[in-house]
């Protein structure tokens, strides 16, 4: 196991070391003290534990790695993640998992506004509530919210499937509640299990998605 202490080693050196070819094993990063861009751009099957709160873009663009943030995360945690797992034990600020294309992001606490904005294939599971504009323009992937969602859930959503246990303050443009069919219950069960919530009853969730009325510009003629 390798340990870095960000109160002593500059972030640049730590990230450079994490980009070393053939990286493997377990890595601990102590003392993040809210630093931005901690453990970004990883592309190796490693386990990284960050012991404390992070600033913006923690584990941004992650590939393969399993990153645990023991604390809260700032704006854009795991933004554009490709694969792997990012787990925030506390809460996350705005735009968590923004534009993510793969992998799993788990947020133990709450997530701020625009969680899952423009998500493109990532799976996100939020233990608590999410803020306004959750899953704004979400294109693909699945988003699970175990608590409530703020205003305009799923505004202008494309093909992302949203599973919500609590209530949404309001639904955004083109976002509608959809029927929970057996395949959805099964999918949700798998997501909850993967995120560490195996005891949740999938049947207590509702599904939301796109009404697909915004997919085409409407002209009063055929062109």
């Amino acid at each position: 196991m390798t340990t870095y202490d960000l109160t002593r080693t500059p972030l640049r050196e730590v990230n450079q070391a994490l980009h070393a070819p053939g990286l493997s094993g377990e890595i601990v990063i102590a003392g993040p003290q809210g630093a931005h861009s901690v453990a970004v751009g990883l592309d190796a099957p490693v386990k990284v534990t960050i012991q404390g709160h992070c600033g913006y873009y923690a584990a941004g663009m992650n590939k393969q790695a399993e990153v645990t943030i023991e604390g809260n995360a700032g704006t854009g945690v795991a933004e554009n993640m490709m694969s792997g797992v990012v787990h925030v034990t506390g809460s996350a600020s705005q735009s968590a998992g923004a534009t993510g294309r793969g992998g799993l992001l788990v947020i133990g606490g709450d997530a701020g506004a625009r969680c899952g904005i423009s998500m493109k294939g990532i799976d996100i599971v939020v233990g608590g509530d999410t803020g306004h504009m959750t899953a704004f323009m979400a294109q693909a992937g699945r988003l699970v919210v175990r608590g409530d969602a703020g205003d305009a859930l799923g505004d202008s959503i494309y093909e992302t499937r949203i599973y919500l246990r609590g209530t949404a303050r309001s639904l955004g443009a083109d976002c509608v509640e959809k029927e929970m069919r057996p395949e959805h219950l099964e999918e949700l069960e798998g997501l909850l299990k993967a995120a560490g919530y195996p005891d949740d009853d999938p049947a207590s969730y509702k599904r939301f998605g796109s009404a697909r009325t915004l997919y085409h510009f409407h002209a009063d003629n055929s062109y």
Binding site: R12, H19, S37, D43, Y57, T75, A98, T99, H216, Y223
Partner: protein, 449 residues
């Protein structure tokens, strides 16, 4: 029915200046369809532009360089301020970002071939990076856009520079558009969208807003790429002085300013014609910001790339004289590839247009095979031949700029300066901040009015 001006005069027909025929047609179109007009190309209205500037060639008080014998350099280095590997380009003319999606794969390949042949860079666009494009481009700038379609860290690392796009001159404050006809299976796959939808994309980045956030975003991009690549920031020309200052303070190595004449693949007409400021007005504002920061044309400075309506070597030379380090071309590059070629007259007529007027880049039916995803139409563009034509055009732009620079006594095109220029209209003099020809008057300066 088209009447000649003579016939109209004989019949006593007078066209309204306010409600001219274009305006009348626009009202009729809106009433018929209930949707705003979306088109390609750039602003079509007349604007103060580079044609309103002239060079003062050398004579008695300055001496020229010999046209074909004395060296006049054209190379530029971009992004040396922070990047480990700045770009070294042989010519100061680059290819602007145009998306795969807006353009077909043949067109993107042709752009890459041309840029590589003459030692300059080309740029990706809204839809991500294609292997063809990377393969055919020696130097490729990767756009980082609000919608992040196709965005992935591997392509980021494969790029030679990264361009964070805040806006485009044709639509500052607007997001991308790609109509269903062009959202083919491949385009949709790259963008993670359903096939055939009218794609409307975001106008703000999803995970940052404002200059303080941008600084953190740029730092993240540097961390991910280990500080290797220059980071550009592209803005549509509006509050250009402040945008330039803020971009530089946020860490940009290169600032790209795109004037309102800049081309687009698909934007609302109202946006194209009514939002933004002319390229001519934007350049001095960006230069002023860089000068005040002590970073203009300095070895570790920030470079300025200007685009929007650049058509010939004189335009290139005028941009450089006003303080740009390089320029970017979009529309002119497409024309060089074959866009609006009279040999497609019949096809243009069938589409209700004509060579010289065709701007329906959004429709995906381009007879020249450039702004389309249709396999059949794309056969009309041979990427090698297109690449050869565009390389020729880029060479001409460079030789023309050199011709002017030598005439002004400069051993390098970037030695051109505002002092070499005069304006022939008061508007251009005020915007470009060069004197009206035959006077020492720069409107708005030194207490002038």
């Amino acid at each position: 029915m088209t009447l000649t001006p003579d016939e109209r005069a004989r019949r006593g027909l007078r066209e309204s200046a306010t409600f001219d025929r274009t305006t009348i047609a626009a009202i009729q179109r809106a009433a018929e369809t209930g949707i705003y007009d979306i088109r390609g190309w750039g602003a079509k209205r007349a604007l103060p532009h580079f044609d309103d500037l002239l060079f003062l060639g050398a004579s008695m008080s300055r001496y020229p360089l010999e046209g074909y014998r004395e060296r006049c350099g054209t190379d530029v280095v971009l992004g040396g301020r922070n990047a480990k590997y700045p770009l070294h380009l042989d010519i100061p003319v680059t290819i602007a970002g145009m998306s795969f999606g807006a353009l077909g794969a043949h067109a993107k390949e042709a752009l890459g071939r041309a840029a590589s042949a003459v030692g300059t860079s080309t740029t990706t666009g809204d839809g991500g990076m294609t292997p063809e494009e990377r393969g055919h481009s020696k130097t490729l700038v990767y756009q980082y856009l609000p919608n992040r379609y196709g965005m992935n860290p591997d392509d980021l690392r494969r790029a030679d520079a990264i361009e964070v796009v805040l806006g485009q001159g044709a639509k500052p404050g607007g997001g991308g558009m790609l109509l269903g006809q062009k959202v083919s299976e491949r385009v949709a796959g790259m963008r993670t969208l359903p096939v055939g939808i009218d794609q409307r994309s975001s106008s703000r980045h999803p995970d940052w807003t404002g200059p303080d956030d941008l600084a953190i975003k740029i730092a993240e991009l540097r961390e991910i790429t280990d500080g290797e690549k220059p980071i550009y920031v592209k803005v549509g020309a509006t509050r250009t002085y402040y945008d330039t200052r803020l971009a530089v303070e946020a860490g940009a190595d290169v600032v790209v300013v795109d004037g309102m004449q800049g081309g687009t693949a698909a934007t609302q007409e109202v946006f194209i014609e009514h939002v933004g400021i002319p390229t001519l007005a934007a350049i001095p504002l960006a230069v002023q910001a860089l000068q005040e920061l002590g970073l203009h044309r300095k070895p570790d400075g920030v470079q300025l790339i200007v685009s929007g309506g650049i058509r010939n070597g004189a335009d290139v030379a005028k941009c450089l004289a006003l303080g740009a380090d390089a320029v970017a071309i979009g529309t002119a590059a497409l024309i060089a590839l074959g866009d609006n070629d009279p040999r497609y007259d019949t096809e243009y007529a069938r589409l209700g247009s004509a060579a010289g007027f065709y701007d329906q880049f959004q429709a995906g039916q381009d007879p020249a095979g450039i702004t389309t995803q249709d396999e059949e139409l794309q056969r009309n563009l041979d990427p090698e031949e297109g690449g050869r034509r565009l390389a020729n055009f880029l060479r001409v732009l460079t030789m023309e700029a050199q011709t002017v620079a030598r005439a002004c006594g400069k051993a390098h095109v970037t030695h051109l300066e505002p002092e070499d220029l005069v304006a022939i209209s008061i508007e251009a003099a005020a915007m470009a901040k060069v004197p009206l020809a035959g006077t020492s008057w720069i409107p708005g300066q030194d207490g002038g009015f």
